[in-house]
Symmetry: C2
Subunit: 204 residues, 2 copies
Amino acid sequence: MSEARQYHHGDLHAAILERATRVIEQEGIEALSLRGIARDLGVSHAAPNRHFRTKADLLSTLARVGWEQITEATLRAAEEVLPNDAHHRLNAMGQGFLKWALKNRSMFAAVTHPDVERHADAELRQAIDEFQQSVRDAVVACQQAGRLSNLDPAIATLYTNSVPFGLAMSLKNPLFGTDLSDRDIDELVADLIELVVPTAEPDS
Amino acid sequence: MSEARQYHHGDLHAAILERATRVIEQEGIEALSLRGIARDLGVSHAAPNRHFRTKADLLSTLARVGWEQITEATLRAAEEVLPNDAHHRLNAMGQGFLKWALKNRSMFAAVTHPDVERHADAELRQAIDEFQQSVRDAVVACQQAGRLSNLDPAIATLYTNSVPFGLAMSLKNPLFGTDLSDRDIDELVADLIELVVPTAEPDS
DNA sequence: AGAGTTTTGTTGACACCGTCTACATTGGCA
DNA sequence: TGCCAATGTAGACGGTGTCAACAAAACTCT
């Protein structure tokens, strides 16, 4: 009952997603193809169609999973930080995001893939909104605690949201040959996010 | 001698680039195809091959042009700003970048396209390096003028470089439904970049 | 338990794409 | 003027996404 090929795969849906992330990791997101995945999984070329009607659908699902992981990773980072005041929490969220992006390159690639924004379905939108909302909450808490309080929350959120995003894109792009390879990742991340959300008391 | 189809197009190379940016603008970068462009230009399907051996080659060229435009736009912004001290220059560069990205969406899409980083040729790398260097120069000048002077220049450059990048990605992505549509673009850009490179004197 | 229905996978087809090769036309240069 | 390199064409190949028709298994209901 083990290696005999069965007509029904068992859980092809999950297998496709898993294989897709592997392919992206190893060969880049441009090499992703439904037929290729089907081949790798030993299943007919049209089988994935039952689970993802279009390729954009697969990308979209990957992106949704990615955003859910982002939300989870940032919120967990926020809870674990000490001291657990508003500024340290927001700072930790930034660090959590950046570390996640550097560790999960294939998912981050899916999240930022240009094809995704066209065919985004409701679930993906909701996953994004959820994350945005959590950032917004943290920003507002930060403002109430005194820092950045003169800013429009929408702008502060956009800023806080975008900066780790841009940092992740730059760090992962080999063309931006910023030579920081000798640095400790955690320290680098901490230094960078400190520029965005300072935890140190401002000089007086 | 005007509308009669000639065997030789005249300047197919430039025509392809121009048509490509139009397609990206109107149908998205995922809809870009060499055959489609050839069709639009009334030329045989393999004609573009003479000018761009592969599709990645076309993307790469678009990206290079994009980076050249970025360098030009940021440096011009830096020269035009008043007062023309180091901080205002760096701030103006950030604003210049962001405005360029919002105005030239198709080029920005090419610059950030995932396929580009794989098959980047020497020219593209040089164009990127040139921009990075100009940012680095501006950052160092800024540090010498007193602000941010305790930072590793590599980190400061990475930060200054990445932030407008992330902001541009967020602002252009319709999924990040940051509702800022009622705002004046110039004012929004100014407010955002002020968070990155403050021109106002720090509170004392 | 067994029949009917829904889900899942297969096969084959279609149109499109990128890219290669062989050939045709042209423009420029010796 | 005649040759050659540059440019465009025609055709082919393998690859891809996606659809429709069919087959097998799983599920459901009595």
